[in-house]
C-alpha cells in the first residue's frame, strides 16, 4: 500500500469515528471521547477550592458539591473515578483564549451570554442565588430591605457575579470594595473595613456559620430573569461540550443533581429575600 492510500484510509477511519461519535453522543463511552489524554478525563478547578463546593481543598475526594457533581458527570460519560485527573486552573487560565489544560473546569462559574462568546458552557448544574452576610456588630445587621443598605460599604470577590449584584441590584452610595479571594473579603468584614459581603448563597451560609464567630445572613436576592446558573467551562468550540451538556442534563433529569445539592448544600433554605 502506498502512502497516499494509507492517508486516505486514515482520514476515512477518522471520519467514520467522528460520525459514530456524533450518533452516540448521549451514551458516550470513555474510549470514543476526544479528551486531552485519551481514556482520562482531566478536570480543572482553582486552588484553594472552597467549602462547601469542595472539602478540605481536596477536589479528588468526591466530597463537597462540585467534586461530587464532577465525578457524577465523569461516570455519566463513562469514566470511573480512577480515570479522573484533577488539575489546578486559575481564573485567568479558565478565561484565556485558545486550548485549555483541562477537558472541563468546575469552579462556581456563572453562565452569562458575554462569557459564552469566549468559552463553551455546559448546561447549568446549579441555580445559584446571591446573599449578603455581615456581623452582628455591623450597622446593617438589622437591615430588612435593599433600601436599608443604601449607605453600606459592601464587598465582593473579583470574578464573581456577586459584584454585579452590588452594582446592579443593591446600588449603594459608597463604592464597593473588591477582593482577590473570599478569604481576603472575609478578613475585611471581620475587621469592619466593609459592612457586608455579597457571596453566593451556599458560600454565604458556610462563611457566616463556620468562618465568622458572629456572622449572620442578612438575606438573599431574588434571582434576575433567566436566573444565575453555574456551568462547566470548556474550550470554545470543544468537541466535548455536547456530551458534557448531555451528561449534566441526564443527571438533572434523574434527580442526581438535586440529591447532591441536598446532601452537600443542605442548609441553604430559609434566608429571607431582600427586596
Amino acid at each position: 500500500m502506498n502512502r497516499k492510500k494509507l492517508g486516505t484510509a486514515v482520514t476515512l477511519a477518522a471520519l467514520l469515528g467522528s460520525i459514530s461519535f456524533g450518533i452516540s453522543a448521549t451514551s458516550a463511552s470513555a474510549a470514543t471521547l476526544p479528551t486531552l489524554t485519551p481514556g482520562v478525563l482531566t478536570i480543572g478547578t482553582d486552588d484553594p477550592a472552597y467549602t462547601p463546593w469542595f472539602d478540605n481543598n481536596n477536589p479528588s475526594d468526591g466530597k463537597g458539591f462540585e467534586s461530587a457533581v464532577a465525578y457524577a458527570v465523569a461516570k455519566q460519560l463513562g469514566f470511573p473515578a480512577s480515570k479522573v485527573k484533577w488539575v489546578h486552573a486559575s481564573f485567568n487560565s479558565v478565561i484565556q483564549p485558545g486550548k485549555k489544560a483541562f477537558d472541563f473546569d468546575i469552579n462556581e462559574v456563572s453562565i452569562t451570554p458575554d462569557r459564552a462568546k469566549a468559552v463553551d458552557f455546559s448546561t447549568g448544574y446549579y441555580d445559584v442565588a446571591q446573599a449578603l452576610i455581615t456581623t452582628t456588630k455591623s450597622k446593617i445587621a438589622k437591615a430588612k430591605t435593599i433600601a436599608d443598605l443604601a449607605n453600606a460599604k459592601l464587598g465582593a470577590s473579583v470574578g464573581s457575579t456577586s459584584y454585579s449584584t452590588i452594582t446592579d441590584v443593591i446600588k449603594p452610595k459608597t463604592k464597593p470594595s473588591v477582593f482577590d479571594t473570599n478569604d481576603l473579603a472575609t478578613a475585611a468584614l471581620k475587621n469592619g473595613q466593609i459592612d457586608g459581603l455579597v457571596l453566593d448563597l451556599p458560600t454565604a451560609f458556610y462563611v457566616a456559620g463556620a468562618e465568622l464567630s458572629n456572622g449572620l445572613i442578612v438575606g438573599q436576592f431574588a434571582p434576575k430573569a433567566g436566573s444565575d446558573q453555574f456551568g462547566l467551562v470548556l474550550t470554545k468550540g470543544s468537541a466535548l461540550t455536547k456530551s458534557v451538556s448531555a451528561a449534566v442534563n441526564a443527571l438533572r433529569a434523574n434527580g442526581t443533581l438535586k440529591a447532591l445539592a441536598t446532601k452537600w448544600l443542605a442548609s441553604v433554605g430559609g434566608a429571607p429575600v431582600l427586596k
Binding site: F91, P97, A118, V158, F179, A188, I194
Partner: protein
C-alpha cells in the same frame, strides 16, 4: 586661495557615502523582511483570531475605558501622595544613616534597621500586614480605609528604596566639599543643607525618577485591600466578559503616563552628562 580637499580625501568621502547608503538600504530591507515574517507568523497563527478577539476587541475596549479611567484617577492620587511622602521620609532616613555624630547613633541604627526590613519585604506582604493587620487591632480612632492604609504601605516600602538612593548620592559628594564648607565657617547643618544635599540630589535625580515610575505601577497593588484602581477595574470587566481587552486598555493608559516621565528622566540625565563633560569632571 580657498581650501582644496585632496584627491585622497574626496575618495574617502565618496566611499563613506557609498557605505552609508548601502547600510541604510540594508537596514530598510532587513526591517521590511523581519516585519513581514513577524506579521505573517503572528496573524497566520492558528489561534490569532481568538487572541485578537480576547485581547483587542474594540467593543470591550470602549465599554471598559471609562471604568479603567476612573480607576486610574485613584492610581494618580495615590502615586502623587506616596511619592512626595516617600521622598521626604527617604531623605530623613538617608541623612540619619550618613550622620556621624555619636549622639545620633540610636537614630542611625533605627534608620538602618528600617531600610533593611522594608527594602527586603515584598510590597504585597507589607500591604497585607498593614492593610489587614492594623484594622484587625481594633482601634476605633484609626482609619481602616483601604486607600489610606495602602498608601502607607507604599510609603513604607518606597521610602526605604529612596532613602538608599539618596544615601548613595550623599556619599558620592566629595568629602573635600564638606571640609571646605566647614572651613568657610558653615555649621554642620548649614553644610548639609547648602552644600551636600543640593549636589547629592542632583546626582540621583534620574534614579529617583526611576523609583517614581516604579511606584506609579505599584500603586495598583493596593487593590488587594479592596480599592478599585485601574487594574482592578479592568479585572472586574474582564471577569464579567471573559475578555482580556480591559487589561490592554489599562496597560495603554499606564504606558501613556510613563512615557513622558521616562523621556523627562532621559533628558535630565543627558543634560547632566553634558554639563559634567563641559566642567571637565570626566
Amino acid at each position: 586661495m580657498s581650501y582644496q580637499p585632496s584627491e585622497l580625501r574626496l575618495q574617502r568621502e565618496a566611499a563613506r557615502r557609498r557605505a552609508s547608503r548601502r547600510s541604510t538600504l540594508i537596514a530598510i530591507l532587513s526591517t521590511v523582511v523581519i516585519g513581514t515574517v513577524l506579521t505573517i507568523a503572528v496573524t497566520g497563527a492558528p489561534g490569532f483570531k481568538a487572541v485578537r478577539q480576547s485581547f483587542f476587541s474594540w467593543h470591550y475596549a470602549t465599554t471598559a475605558f471609562p471604568h479603567v479611567l476612573s480607576g486610574l484617577w485613584l492610581n494618580l492620587r495615590v502615586m502623587v501622595i506616596a511619592s512626595l511622602l516617600s521622598f521626604i521620609l527617604g531623605l530623613l532616613i538617608a541623612v540619619a544613616r550618613t550622620s556621624h555624630s555619636p549622639v545620633l547613633y540610636p537614630l542611625r541604627i533605627l534608620a538602618t534597621t528600617y531600610t533593611d526590613i522594608f527594602r527586603g519585604l515584598p510590597l504585597l506582604l507589607v500591604l497585607y500586614l498593614v492593610g489587614f493587620g492594623i484594622p484587625g487591632l481594633g482601634f476605633t480612632w484609626l482609619t481602616n480605609s483601604a486607600v489610606i492604609l495602602g498608601t502607607v504601605s507604599l510609603i513604607l516600602t518606597y521610602s526605604a528604596y529612596m532613602g538608599e538612593v539618596i544615601r548613595a548620592g550623599i556619599e558620592a559628594v566629595n568629602p573635600a566639599q564638606r571640609m571646605a564648607a566647614r572651613a568657610l565657617g558653615l555649621t554642620p547643618t548649614q553644610t548639609q543643607r547648602h552644600v551636600v544635599l543640593p549636589q547629592a540630589l542632583r546626582k540621583v535625580t534620574p534614579a529617583l525618577l526611576n523609583d517614581l515610575i516604579s511606584l506609579q505601577k505599584d500603586s495598583g497593588l493596593i487593590s488587594v485591600l479592596g480599592a478599585i484602581d485601574a487594574i482592578r477595574a479592568a479585572q472586574i470587566d474582564a471577569s464579567q466578559s471573559f475578555n482580556f481587552t480591559p487589561y490592554v486598555v489599562a496597560g495603554a493608559l499606564f504606558v501613556s503616563l510613563t512615557i513622558p516621565l521616562t523621556r523627562f528622566t532621559d533628558w535630565l540625565s543627558n543634560k547632566q552628562d553634558r554639563a559634567r563633560v563641559q566642567q571637565g569632571q570626566w
